[in-house]
């Protein structure tokens, strides 16, 4: 482990918050993308059936 000296708390918290925010952003994007993709697939499947019948 690196020796951060007296500034360990600011440095570590800066890295922690940055990583947490980036992960939250990516996770949020993926979550929304999955939800929209699932809903779209559902509607498209429904319409596909509707058109053939």
């Amino acid at each position: 482990m690196v020796d951060l000296g007296q500034y360990a708390v600011p440095v570590l918290s800066a890295y922690a918050v940055t990583i947490a925010l980036l992960v939250a952003l990516v996770a949020g994007s993926i979550w929304r993308a999955r939800r929209v993709a699932r809903a779209l697939a559902e509607v498209e499947a429904r319409r596909g059936r509707g058109a053939s019948s």
């Binding site: 690196v2 020796d3 500034y7 600011p10 800066a14 890295y15 952003l25 929209v36």
Partner: protein, 246 residues
């Protein structure tokens, strides 16, 4: 001859962005993880700033990309105005939350860096304050997108807001310099390219540039990804509306 406008076609955009996305995301992850590990574990402390110098590896790249994200939204809004390509408007919409998070990171890391260095968490200094204003602009922009139901109207109005907001963001920047000289040092990164002894030493510069590349590719990957989501969401809404009509 293929021109860039071909990608304004949502179908072409979906195909190309789908093929591109894994690569862009991989480069982003590689540069981010590699650069941050390099910066955190394998760089010396600055003789004046101690280990807080490590914060610049996240602070400077996020700040640069926060501004570039707004510029990208501005360009996308202009393209939407001139050529009415829906992908462009949706890309601007997709970029806003990413830029907002980058602004937040820059603000937070700046605050925890300023606390030991300047002895204060927050200082009403032109650079800090302009970033706060930038953050407010992102909030307003996103709120306006959310508030309007008709997607074309929302795209038009947010594009107008983005143009006007850009002008006022620049005005604020200069008004703030006039208002308070501030503690924040000038841009040291650009001087580094000219003379190493003047700006940031190369020991700090290379890991930072790696992280900056990582942030840039992360931005690109997220914008592509979120734009794909927005296109799907638009198609979903259109299909649901068609079903209601039938």
């Amino acid at each position: 001859m293929a021109s860039i406008w071909e990608y304004a076609n949502p179908r072409r955009f979906m195909a190309t962005s789908g093929a591109l996305l894994p690569w862009v995301a991989a480069i982003a992850a590689l540069c981010l993880i590699g650069g941050l590990i390099w910066g955190f574990f394998f760089t010396p402390d600055d003789f004046r700033q101690g280990s807080t110098v490590k914060i610049i590896y996240v602070h400077v790249p996020s700040a640069i990309m926060a501004i570039n994200a707004w510029l990208m939204m501005l360009v996308a809004s202009l393209i939407w105005f001139v050529r009415r390509h829906h992908v462009s408007a949706l890309a601007a919409k997709a970029a806003a939350p990413v830029g907002m998070v980058f602004t937040l990171i820059a603000l937070f890391t700046g605050a925890v860096w300023g606390q030991p260095m300047w002895g204060t968490w927050w200082e009403w200094d032109p650079r800090l304050t302009s970033f706060l204003i930038l953050f407010l602009f992102y909030l307003g922009y996103m709120a306006l997108w959310e508030a309007i139901e008709n997607p074309d109207q929302a795209a038009d109005l947010t594009a107008v807001l983005c143009l006007v907001g850009s002008v006022f963001a620049i005005l604020s920047r200069y008004a703030l310099v006039f208002w308070n000289q501030g503690l924040h040092q000038g841009t040291t990164v650009t001087t580094a390219g000219v003379g190493v002894e003047e700006g940031v030493s190369s020991v700090f510069l290379y890991p930072m540039l790696t992280v900056l590349t990582g942030f840039a590719f992360l931005f690109l990957a997220l914008v592509l990804y979120r734009t794909r989501t927005e296109i799907r969401s638009r198609r979903l809404k259109a299909l649901i509306a068609q079903e209601r009509m039938a």
